[in-house]
Subunit: 145 residues, 3 copies
Amino acid sequence: MPTYIVSAAANRLTAQMKQEIASRITESHSGATGAQGFFAQVIFQDIAQGNHFLGGRPLNADHIYVHGHIRAGRTMDQKRQLLASIVSVIADAATTQSRYVWVYLSELPPSQMVEYGKVLPEPGCEAEWLDALSTEDKAYLLGRG
Amino acid sequence: MPTYIVSAAANRLTAQMKQEIASRITESHSGATGAQGFFAQVIFQDIAQGNHFLGGRPLNADHIYVHGHIRAGRTMDQKRQLLASIVSVIADAATTQSRYVWVYLSELPPSQMVEYGKVLPEPGCEAEWLDALSTEDKAYLLGRG
Amino acid sequence: MPTYIVSAAANRLTAQMKQEIASRITESHSGATGAQGFFAQVIFQDIAQGNHFLGGRPLNADHIYVHGHIRAGRTMDQKRQLLASIVSVIADAATTQSRYVWVYLSELPPSQMVEYGKVLPEPGCEAEWLDALSTEDKAYLLGRG
């Protein structure tokens, strides 16, 4: 139910770091919200040389920026935990310091999100939603992890 | 008044599919909201190999993700119709199944959107807005389709 | 506290134009909101040939699209000033007309934004926030401009 876009300089993150960040952001999201892992999409964007500025000047330090879109309806505590967890995942997986990590969380009403071709359920109604899928769709989702 | 970002694996969508998706998303938006087509921007993002994860694992299936930013003020019915229409456009134009389609709709107050250099009107006030443009600006917009 | 994504056709903006746009968007943001410059991130996205459509047709004119994410809590006047200033910065720095400029401003609660590893303060509480940072973090921020 969330999509996280992770932006960093091209070649900053190795394939192994990307894999670790993707799986651990997915765990962070499930841990903070209780949502199943197959709902989490993570996309990396490689920023080309010369395209990244901070304070009006070319970026000359490490910097990893995560922008998540999640379902509205989470508590402040869940969102706080999610933010803290993502900062720590990135610092750890990319072997950097938290000072170089930015994270934004945007919220969307579930009724404005389609995943796997279906409008998402409200938080707490995931089981009924899953049950209502066709056998084939359900098998596909459960195979996502 | 909307911008739709369509993300898929690099080389997944042919030039012809992109053209068809762009024109049919534009029609879907006009059909659901009544807004004129020249307000619709569609941008494709080609996701590089190794940059896309689902459920914490590398994506190993078809997947097309659309994120739209539209003017706030549409009814639930309009948004529902818009989502359904986009899912069906993507599945059809990219010859895939709706299971592989994700769509998010974010909303923005018209007062926080500038198109063609001008702050957008509230829904329903498009005609006055268009009339207030310079002759040259208006000709340019009407030439967009 | 804001992030601005500036999208234009690949090779449309020279390195010098990007530098000027980044520094002047940063000034626009500080001017309209009073926030310090080191909070402003600007990222350019180069749109590949064939990936950009307007009104359902391939884009065949100049076009620069800015999408900012800013802290919620600004007044309508501040946001209006910010939009106008960005339109004029882009038209000027990219030597184009405002007709070809689009700008969207999305808002986020400060509690859902982490910069430099820390959740952001509410507007007006920047000084206390900065004071609470470690000496090393503070030196890093103040070095950003």
